[in-house]
């Protein structure tokens, strides 16, 4: 700028140089008296203040009149001080007013001139710094603006000198590093702001940059360390700072905190990884069908690479059947926000892959995108197919079974026997058509009522009968077959052959009862007529038989004269035959009485041992004839029981005579009576022909004689065991058989100690 000169005491002897200076100086040079009056002033006062020199000389106007009040007071005070000690030069900046009223900024410089220690005057230099101020102001403004820009910049701006000291660090830089704004200026960048392990390398890099060994415009990433110790990743661009001479004085770097971006980037990569490896195929496409994203699974499902898949339009990916639905589908997705649907895509190899997708509408960056997650449902479709096939097979089977069922239903509905189904309590659920013809009640009249109750067809048997029937079928869950006397709706009675079967569920509990009734009244009448006929015939036969026997007996006893041996022999033959006939007739009569139920049971207190012994004795002749060795054995304490002695006798007689008859000679027969807890057991054991297994069930029936016997033994009525069984049943006893063909048989009759029930009847059974 301007040359500044200090004027000393040689002023009163101005040299030319000083005069030149005084005359041509741009600054105002003034001699100011201690009272403030202007003693001398340079010509420059004109252009600086607008006053002519003569206007201001010898007055206070220039200085005191041009100052602001405060400044004027200050100057006056200082002038006064000058009188005393003031020795330091004063420099001040102040606003001063020109003649034309315009204010200017000046730099006022004053020095006291002393002679012999006494202040003489003050030498003042006034330098107009208005322009400079303006420039400085502009510069400052510029600087502030620049700083502001630096501050509001999103990037970190840092300038380092050659030592690495921070000469500039913007607001963002302080922010990222976590320091109050401005605090890091003057600190060493490397020591304070970088993590330990990269300090050396980063400093080396800076040095190389400044040396020119490293390329300037390369971007590099490096971490910084915040005040809190947090690491941030910064992406740097570096430039060199040069002075006016072009010498490198430092580095200027702008950096971007990419930590989050990196994290975001990493996160994005992670998300992409997830998407890629999701179990579902994921496709994202525009509303026009162009794919913008496909994950790994989607690509695999279609047989394409991801890249290739993205080049295919959705409409070309889907089979024609489905691609024509796309428009509607997109409409639906738009309306509802999402949609689940089935479709089929074409694989690279041209096979068709069925898919199920869940598509959602997404709005991204102002665009509508469809995000679809789905899966290959080939497997599921196969299952569906198999299921549908199985279903139709099932339906077919159901149809067949229903048809089958219809048959059975028709069968049951139209059977001639009355059939019904009841629940577990006997309430009728179903009754077939025959119900009305058998019972007189219509099917609908009986449904909902209890089967066999008095209100329907029951009530004619004893209470005990119904009770034990119910116990039998319900508690012991066994079937019942028996003849029951029932009555019809109109009151007429009939005999029914009743079958009742409990039907059990999986747990073995009674679920239903099946019940069949057959009206056997006619049959029974026929049977009865037959039996009565047998009875009648037998009765008729008895008389002539007795007569024949009597005459044979008289002849045998010599009533008509002595017999020759041959005559005796022949008579004996007649006697045997007639005896046989008598036995038969007796047996027929017994059987008919049993069948008609007319035989009486008259229990008495009996000694079964005695009866057995009696029978054994009676059969002695028979045993001798058959050469049968016989033993009898009775338990010591056989109690008397209540039983009909005649009937017990018949049992033992029939069984014992059978044993003898059906044994070859010299085969032992044994009669024994044993005592059990609630019964006594009469056992007849033989070692004879035995009874084949097939016949064992049937031997107690009428006129049954096992095949093996019929060939060997011609006598025998075939009724003996039937009679025995009938008596045993009537006595509340039981009979069991153990037999092996060719080995022998043992019949065991068990009679309750408590004994027989009295049974009313019109006749007894014929013994023998």
């Amino acid at each position: 700028m301007n040359k500044r000169t200090t004027i000393d005491s040689r002023i009163l002897d101005p040299s030319r140089e000083l005069n030149v200076l005084f005359t041509h100086s741009n600054d105002v040079i003034a001699y100011v008296g201690l009272d403030g009056r202007l003693l001398k002033v340079s010509r420059s006062v004109q252009h600086v203040f607008g006053y002519r020199p003569d206007e201001v000389l010898n007055s206070r106007r220039l200085f005191l009149g041009t100052f602001k009040t405060n400044d004027a007071l200050f100057v006056l005070r200082e002038l006064r001080r000058t009188k005393r000690h003031w020795t330091m030069p004063m420099t001040r900046h102040m606003p001063m007013r020109r003649k034309d009223g315009r204010w200017i900024d000046v730099e006022w410089s004053a020095r006291t001139v002393r002679k012999n220690g006494i202040a003489q005057y003050v030498l003042v230099m006034v330098h107009d710094v208005t322009e400079r101020k303006k420039v400085l102001q502009a510069l400052r403004t510029e600087k502030e603006r620049a700083e502001h820009y630096l501050d509001i910049a999103g990037s970190i701006i840092v300038a380092l000198d050659t030592h690495g000291t921070i000469t500039l660090l913007n607001r963002r830089g302080h922010e990222v590093l976590g320091y109050p704004n401005g605090m890091l200026i003057g600190k060493n960048w490397f020591a304070v702001c970088l993590p330990r392990e990269i300090r050396k390398d980063t400093r080396t890099l800076q040095l190389r940059l400044m040396r020119g060994d490293a390329p300037i415009n390369e971007m590099h990433e490096g971490e910084v360390l915040s005040k809190k110790g947090e690491r941030r990743l910064i992406r740097w661009h570096n430039a060199l700072l040069r002075d006016a001479n072009g010498r490198t004085i430092g580095t200027l770097s702008s950096g971007e905190d990419v930590t989050d971006k990196r994290m975001q980037h990493d996160e994005i990569r992670l998300h992409q990884y997830y998407l890629d490896h999701a179990t579902d195929a994921i496709l994202v496409h525009n509303m026009d069908g162009t794919l913008v994203y496909a994950n790994e699974v989607a690509a695999r499902c279609h047989g394409y690479s991801k890249k290739k898949l993205l080049s295919i339009r959705l409409h070309d990916l889907e089979t024609p059947t489905f691609s024509r639905q796309i428009a509607q589908r997109l409409k639906d997705i738009k309306r509802h926000g999402d949609l689940v649907y089935e479709t089929a895509h074409r694989h690279k190899d041209n096979s068709i892959v069925p898919f199920e997708f869940h598509s959602r509408l997404l709005r991204v960056n102002g665009k509508n995108l469809i995000f679809s997650a789905g899966r290959d449902i080939s497997e599921r479709k196969r299952f569906e197919q198999a299921l549908s096939e199985a279903n139709s097979k099932l339906e077919e089977r159901v149809r067949a079974q229903t048809e089958d069922l219809r048959k059975f239903r028709l069968f049951v509905e139209n059977a001639s026997d009355q059939m019904g189904i009841t629940d577990a309590n006997g309430i009728i659920l179903y009754a077939n058509l025959a119900t009305i013809s058998v019972t007189g009640y219509r099917s609908d009249e009986v449904v909902g009522k209890k089967a066999g109750s008095m209100k329907l067809w029951g009530g004619l048997m004893t209470k005990t009968f119904y009770r034990s029937l119910w116990t039998h079928i319900k508690k012991t869950k066994k079937p019942y077959i028996g003849e029951v006397r029932n009555h019809r709706k109109d009151g007429t009675q009939y005999i029914a052959l009743v079958h009742i079967y409990p039907l059990l569920d999986e747990k073995g509990e009674v679920k239903y009862f099946a019940q069949i009734q057959r009206d056997i009244t006619k049959q029974k009448e026929v049977d009865r007529a037959k039996t009565e006929f047998v009875s009648l015939a037998s009765h008729q036969l008895r008389s002539p038989l007795s007569t024949a026997r009597w005459y044979v007996s008289m002849l045998m006893k010599g009533a008509a004269g002595t017999l020759k041996p041959k005559q005796r022999e022949y008579l004996h033959a007649i006697a045997t035959s007639t005896q046989r006939m008598v036995d038969l007739v007796d047996a027929f009569l017994n059987v008919s009485r049993i069948d008609l139920g007319t035989f009486a049971v008259s229990p008495e207190s009996i000694d079964t041992v005695k009866i057995a012994q009696g029978v054994a004795e009676e059969l002695q002749p028979l045993m001798r004839e058959h050469k049968t060795p016989f033993t009898q054995s009775y338990s010591r304490r056989v109690p008397r029981i209540s039983a009909d002695p005649r009937l017990i006798r018949i049992i033992i007689y029939n069984l014992l005579s059978n044993a003898v008859k059906y044994s070859p000679p010299n085969k032992k027969v044994r009669l024994s009576i044993a005592v059990k807890k609630t019964k006594i057991e009469i056992a007849i054991a033989d070692n004879g022909y035995g009874i084949p297994k097939e016949d064992q069930q049937k031997i107690f029936t009428k006129l049954h004689r096992a095949d093996n016997i019929r060939k060997r033994v011609t006598e025998g009525t075939g009724l003996g065991l039937y009679i025995v069984k009938a008596i045993v049943d009537a006595s509340n006893g039981s009979i069991s058989l153990k037999s092996k063909e060719g080995k022998g048989s043992t019949f065991t009759v068990a009679l309750p100690k408590r004994g027989m029930l009295r049974k009313r009847g019109s006749t007894g059974l014929k013994p023998g």
Binding site: S546, R549, W550
Partner: protein, 124 residues
Amino acid sequence: MSKTILIAEDELLMRQALADTLTASGYKVVLAENGRQALDKTTSEKPDLILLDVMMPLIDGFGVLKSLKAKKETASIPVIVLTNLGQQSDVATATQLGAVSYLVKSETDPTMVAKEVARVLKSS
């Protein structure tokens, strides 16, 4: 003096067999074919014992028995009842009505009948 036995039996052959056997045993025999005859002949012949069949026409054995026991003259004559069947009720009725013995035709023969007749006559 031989005893007189009245045989009341409707079956000819049986009647004959009994008559033959009893005659051979030394008895005098009077025959009746039905209940009416039995009563008449009892009055007229005054037998020492009556063999009475149950099943007879006109009046059956039990009817005859009742009548016999009702009249003083005939009540003391011992009666042996003969029957074809073995019903308990018959036995009971016979005994109740005053018969002294009871024989079942199919279980006996003329010889046994003669024995019984002898026994009853001896004990009366």
